[in-house]
């Protein structure tokens, strides 16, 4: 008889994908992120939780240099992707974002066809040489995003015509079409109904076999459901980072306890 592996959530033997050390972010005079050290593992879903304004989205946006687009933002400290500093001058942020994809809170498909939404990234990054290759990428991305069966007969229809949940899965398909190594998700389900949320969560779990997934969520239950590692941010500090089950059953820091049990906001 086969033993049931009850420790399937344990990912401690996974390699470190992203190493952040002493990360500080200032927006003008606001000190938004204070000295964050964290190791994000490959093949793992890492959830960032914490009250609004705690720095979790700010930190997520550091991971693919989205803060570069905010003129008042200053980022210091080091963030290494596979040992290479992503803030190095030689790194092209556009290339970096092909490796570190992002899915946003509200589904934001381009006002183009379903096909073009997914094909856009591979095209501009010159990842394909032929139409057949591009077709294959579109199909496999839509399949990975669990959307293929629902849209395969209407790839030319506008992406904006899909339902909210389908649009969000289209955005996930678009993000994974460039074969990223890390997928950042900023509250990807906050605009979705519970069934669409469940579909996206199921998808996140499947995606982690191929990508590191980092998800910012306001729903602690979602963090508990989908992640293997949880990081709790509070007032710009990374207060606690650990195995999700441990964080939700026996948090080490009293601030984590107060937050997850609904005592501080």
């Amino acid at each position: 008889m086969k033993d049931i592996n009850i420790e399937e959530r344990v990912v401690s033997d996974h390699k470190v994908k992203i190493t952040a050390r002493g990360v500080q972010v200032h927006y003008g005079t606001t000190h938004a992120l204070k000295d964050v050290d964290v190791d994000i593992l490959s093949g793992t879903v890492t959830a960032f939780i914490g009250p609004s304004g705690c720095g979790k989205s700010t930190f997520l946006r550091c991971l693919n240099r989205m803060n570069d687009t905010v003129s008042s933002a200053r980022v210091s400290g080091s963030i290494l992707l596979d040992g290479e500093d992503i803030y190095d001058k030689r790194v092209d942020p556009v290339q970096l974002r092909a490796k570190v994809g992002m899915v946003f809170q509200k589904p934001n498909p381009f006002p183009k066809s379903i096909y073009d939404n997914v094909a856009y990234g591979p095209k501009i990054h010159g990842l394909t040489r032929s139409k057949a290759e591009l077709d294959a990428i579109v199909e496999s991305s839509l399949k990975k995003a669990a959307l293929w069966n629902e849209v395969k007969d209407r790839l030319a229809a506008p992406g904006t015509g899909l339902s909210g949940g389908q649009q969000q899965r289209l955005c996930i398909a678009r993000a994974i079409a460039t074969s990223p190594e890390v997928l950042l998700m900023d509250e990807p389900c906050s605009a979705l109904d519970p069934i669409a949320t469940a579909q996206v969560e199921e998808l996140i779990d499947e995606l982690r076999s191929q990508f590191s997934v980092v998800i910012v969520t306001h729903s602690m239950q979602q963090a508990a459901r989908v992640s293997q590692r949880t990081a709790f941010f509070h007032l710009g500090h990374l207060v606690e980072y650990g195995e999700t089950g441990q964080v939700f059953t026996t948090p080490k820091d009293p601030r984590t306890e107060s937050y997850i049990t609904g005592r501080i906001g």
Binding site: T249, T261, G262
Partner: protein
């Protein structure tokens, strides 16, 4: 600990814990009164205790329903989750202890028809009082989240074990002296064993307190003094 932002959550948690304390009170009362019924050969009292067990069982059901609701509706985490889990385990212990009290009352009805065994009823009543003390302290430790009192309960269970050992030998002596004592002594022995079991449940509750407060179950073996499962020759040496 500070209150929840959602005050209804606090009310739910306080509610089930109040039910646990109420149930604990009923069990303590049932044990003491059942021992008293035995000591005084009071059949009316014994019958009252037998009937009273239903109220204890109903409280357990109520607590379990409430805990299921809290888990389903509030998704408790961390110390809130441990509160719900420990409440469920504690009421299971209390329910079992209530059954033992009921069983004691039932046997006392049988024993009231038999020739009394010298000194036994008094010893059993003493043992029951000692165990009720443990039970009371374990529940006090629970409601005040008192780790040191919980530790103390764990350590004191050894005294109950010792009383049980003494009774065990006493009953053996009576049975060897006069075989006509055997039926009564067998009943008395089951009673003593059951009271000793209540001590174990009190210890279990104390361990739940340690888990609730610290987040981990106590790892070290607690002191035990029940030697009756060893061969007689060893217990006498």
């Amino acid at each position: 600990m500070e209150p929840h932002i959602r005050s209804a959550f606090d009310k739910d948690l306080e509610g089930v814990q109040a039910l646990v304390m109420k149930m604990g009170g009923l069990v303590e009362h049932a044990l003491l009164r059942a021992a008293e019924a035995l000591e005084k050969r009071d059949e009316a009292l014994a019958e009252e205790i037998r009937q009273g067990d239903r109220a204890i069982d109903e409280l357990e059901d109520l607590v379990n329903v409430e805990c299921a609701r809290i888990i389903a509706l509030r998704a408790p985490t961390a110390s809130d989750l441990r509160t719900v889990l420990t409440v469920m385990r504690i009421v299971a212990s209390l329910e079992r202890s209530g059954d033992y009290a009921k069983n004691l009352a039932k046997r006392s009805l049988v024993l009231a028809q038999m020739r009394p065994i010298n000194g036994a009823n008094g010893s059993i009543a003493r043992m029951a009082r000692s165990v009720v003390g443990l039970l009371k302290d374990s529940l006090d430790a629970y409601i005040t989240r008192d780790l040191s009192l919980a530790q103390d309960v764990r350590n004191r269970d050894a005294e109950v074990d010792q009383m049980y050992n003494a009774l065990f030998r006493e009953f053996l002596t009576h049975m060897m002296e006069d075989p006509r004592n055997i039926t009564a002594c067998m009943h008395l022995h089951f009673i003593a064993k059951n009271i000793e079991r209540v001590g174990d449940h009190a210890t279990g509750i104390a361990e739940q307190v340690i888990y609730l407060v610290s987040g981990t179950a106590p790892a070290d073996d607690r002191p035990k003094n029940d030697l009756t499962s060893l061969p007689i020759s060893e217990t006498n040496s």
